[in-house]
Symmetry: C2
Subunit: 557 residues, 2 copies
């Protein structure tokens, strides 16, 4: 005879089971995304394949399931992906969220192939937006126009003369203004270039292009965007990132007003993408974070992690600070924004309050300067600091091994190499190319290599970056065999730099970057298996769905 | 024979009961604060007495229980107050949270009775804080020193000459600086008083006192406080407010850095008191809120509600803007900070985005100016706007009825009347006292009257304010019968102005301000029944415990 449980005993057992079910990590009432061709890296960076992803109700990974693993019967919900490919969401380690958004609500010249086309685009935009008092935009690159010089205010005046027009260079390191804008900003032949900046001149007169710190001379005259425009720009940017499978991004140089925008979005429940914010300069960073980085806010959607400092300008505008003069501009060595003392003091000021430090360094002189500063500061600020060098673009080969010390993170952008290689050859000459975009050497030297796009300078497309990383070729397949092919990295190493190591670089490896127990369920569904295809197919991979924290936040329609 | 329930039926019933228990509004597993002498106003402003308060687990009032009402058997927790008096938490409708905190970590001169005592206090503070490069503080009032004039830099130099010293007047409308501070700020005999401000002079030289807009000339030289000092100041202020039974406060003129401090506190889980923030000026308000007020943040602890504008200065420093000259300063009519056009444009700019408007108006000229602006703007911005006039201190009797239109809120401070009455008599002469601190007339005219302390100008003690409101007498019982006693308000009307109407004035009447179903359980335990005692006993009431959202956040030790 079977001994029957008494009602009170059953009740007690039920209460106990329910109490367990109510704890967040419970296996009861989980959700299952099933029937996937699942690929991820594990915490050692090894590829793991799976067919089902079990999640908690609040969007964390419980476990990866293989084809033979039994599926739980009790589930909150279940999604059948019909065999499609699931990957962890990408981490873009270097982008500018608000600039990406404004690029989309302002005039975008990124695809223009000539100065005339740019002028026509500007004139058409003004005709279509007669109410705008200032015409703003960006994306131009005189290199793509085969112009052989910077554009001028006189060029732009022939398109629009009756109101100020200001267009940012694709790399964000120069502005092109018309005469009305220069007049509004009070620029005359007597205006002096500020330290770290350069007013381009033609015949002793300001030509209309303002490089690096000189940009501020024009920017101070531009009216601040309205809050509604900031909100709209954010939503555009977020949608763009999600559509490319980016589920987390570093925001490099967040201003106070940008931070306020993110908070408004979080307060209103509109933050989807995870933002690791690096405040623009020490002052704004401290105004935001106070005595240190913020906690993760809005259910792990936003955190002020550290500070972004600018060590120099960009190569295209000859603002990158070089040890030896530019090959194509004798005597010019670019713009070092800070003295050795200033950069150390700023880094020290931020490190003191445990902000992570990320320094923009393009030229070999600046890279050496930042490495020197880290050498010195690492003596004082011990422990797990993850000093970041952003771009690490042109490095003296003698300095490359130094990236392997002090746990330095080299935060690099594969597509910059393929976009810039011809310009870089012109700027540097052949002798200095060995330490240019030296991804593989960074890995060999033991640096943590992480990848991003520097959007909106480039499109925020990780597949374009991944393809560039494993080929050193542009979308046109050029050059054959790859440019400086010794710096090609392996497919899995590149993937890791666009995912889990990007999370690590922002102190977020316990939260996201791969699919594994306890990680946030941030994943994407794509139209092909990126580990199985040739580079041009990899480049053409399309994201079909983007999920963050177990919720679908974007879908291709 | 009793029919026995089957195990499975019991299990189902248990599951159902538990499912109900998990919904937030469930009556199951509530909490009870019992055995209280409970007093509150109901939504019509009538006194309600109760002996128990039933709360939800998340800290809302379920219902008030009378002595005969049955208590639920199943409770999350139960507190026995042993018959002590429970009141709803107070709402201070006009205060300055961060200034209250800094007053406590900087030098406080509020209790000084003479210039010599103030000088001794400053010298002692410098000796005790040798590492401080700038000596900051406030709370002085030359009226309390019987000095018959403003103090001077020369006075202060005899106490401290080797480093800058800047002391704010008790009303926050003037600074007293020593020569080192004036030198650091670059003040000379040639420095011109800015619009809306006045550099006091002696023999043609700056004397050391800077009134209203002239304060900025000194302030710009003072180093910004460190984030850790801001955090510490906030926690001091919060503790002070809670110790006086203030569970919600309007913060009048929140700067961007103050807002960032509140956010850091909220992010770290350190916000206890509820803050209705009015941003300092339109620019900072819009930088914070963007296209409109924020939602309530941090579980109803912080909200940007609107904007604070300053229409004039204060009476003590003769900055209040009067229709006729000061009785004790022939020819001077004070400082109107804004032209009629500017004030309307600013109010309109903020009202357009649905920010609530609160305008500081002390003098009769400014009160008329703001009333004119509201008359005009109410045509455009219809609906429930709750235009606030802060202080409404000296009003032309002809203008008093105008407070009854457009739903105007008169936000007044009872203790100002008792502190200021002798000074006000000197400044105004007898003829203009009829419309001074005219609380009862405001009520009779149909304005919404709300009370606050203007801390740190006065102590944030609602019982002092309540006693002043019902007596028009100071702590010394002077003057006999009360000053301008026709403006005394009733005990319950004053209570209402310090509680539920204060919530209404910040659009928070659905959240707090009284104890009733659905309201947040914000209450205090005090040592006597304020409805049963004489005014001097009322003034001496001590808060024993302060609870916010059903949690004890402060207790007297």
């Amino acid at each position: 005879m079977v001994k029957q449980a008494s009602p009170s005993r059953i009740l007690r057992a039920t209460l106990t089971a329910l109490a367990i079910a109510l704890t967040p990590a419970a296996a009861f009432a989980d959700a299952l995304v099933d029937n996937v061709t699942g690929l991820t890296l594990d915490k050692d960076g090894k590829v793991v394949r799976f067919t089902g992803l079990l999640l908690t109700p609040d969007g964390k990974v419980v476990k990866l399931l293989g084809a033979k693993d039994k599926r739980p019967e009790k589930l909150d919900w279940r999604a059948d992906m019909k065999g499609r490919v699931m990957l962890p969401g990408f981490v873009d380690s270097h982008g500018h969220v608000m600039a990406l958004g404004f690029r989309q609500i302002e005039l975008d010249l990124a695809t223009t192939k000539s100065l005339d086309e740019a002028k026509a685009r500007i004139a058409a935009y003004v005709a279509a937006n007669p109410e705008r008092k200032w015409i703003l935009g960006g994306g131009w690159n005189q290199e793509s126009w085969a112009l052989g010089r910077f554009p001028t205010a006189a060029d732009m005046d022939t398109a629009v003369a009756d109101r100020p027009v200001v267009m940012e260079r694709a790399d964000g390191h120069a502005l092109w203004a018309n005469s009305a804008a220069m007049k509004a900003a009070g620029i005359t032949a007597k205006t002096v270039s500020p330290a770290g900046g350069r007013i381009e001149k033609v015949g002793g007169q300001p030509s209309g292009v303002f490089v690096d710190a000189a940009m501020a001379l024009i920017q101070k005259a531009i009216p601040q965007p309205l809050a509604k425009d900031r909100n709209a720009a954010f939503l555009k940017a977020q949608n763009d990132l999600l559509s490319h499978g980016i589920t987390a991004t570093a925001d490099m140089g967040t201003t106070l007003d940008e931070w306020m925008t993110y908070r408004r979005m979080g307060d209103a429940g509109n933050l989807r993408v995870r933002i690791m914010s690096y405040g623009g300069g020490v002052d704004d960073t401290v105004r935001i974070g106070g005595t240190g980085p913020t906690p993760w806010l809005y259910n792990n959607k936003l955190r002020l992690v550290g500070v972004k400092l600018y060590g120099d300008g960009a190569l295209g505008s000859r603002g990158a600070w070089l040890k030896q003069p530019y090959a194509d501009a004798p005597g010019q060595t670019g713009l070092g924004f800070m003295s050795d003392d200033v950069i150390r003091n700023l880094m020290s000021r931020a490190a003191m309050d445990k902000y992570q430090i990320a320094v923009h360094a393009i030229g070999d002189r600046t890279n050496a300067q930042v490495l020197d500063a880290i050498d010195e500061l690492a003596e004082t600020y011990k422990g797990d600091r993850r000093w970041r060098i952003e771009h690490a673009q042109i490095v003296d080969p003698a300095d490359l091994p130094r990236f392997g010390k002090h746990g330095i993170v080299a935060s690099m952008q594969p597509v910059h190499e393929t976009s810039d290689r011809q310009m870089a050859e012109a700027r540097l000459g052949p002798a200095r190319l060995t330490g240019a975009y030296a991804w593989n050497t960074m890995l060999k030297n033991g640096a943590t290599l992480v990848f991003g796009s520097d959007y909106p300078v480039e499109r925020p497309d990780p597949f374009a970056g991944w393809a560039a990383a494993i080929t050193r070729q542009g979308p046109d397949g050029q050059p054959y065999g790859g440019w400086q092919p010794q710096e090609i990295v392996g497919r899995e190493a590149a993937w890791r730099a666009f995912t889990m190591d990007g999370a690590y670089a922002g102190f977020a490896e316990d939260l996201f970057g791969r699919l594994g127990q306890g990680q946030q369920a941030d994943f994407i569904i794509v139209d092909r298996n990126p580990l199985d295809i040739n580079p041009s197919e990899l480049r053409a991979t399309q994201v079909e769905e983007t999920w963050i924290g177990g919720q679908k936040v974007w879908e291709r329609r």
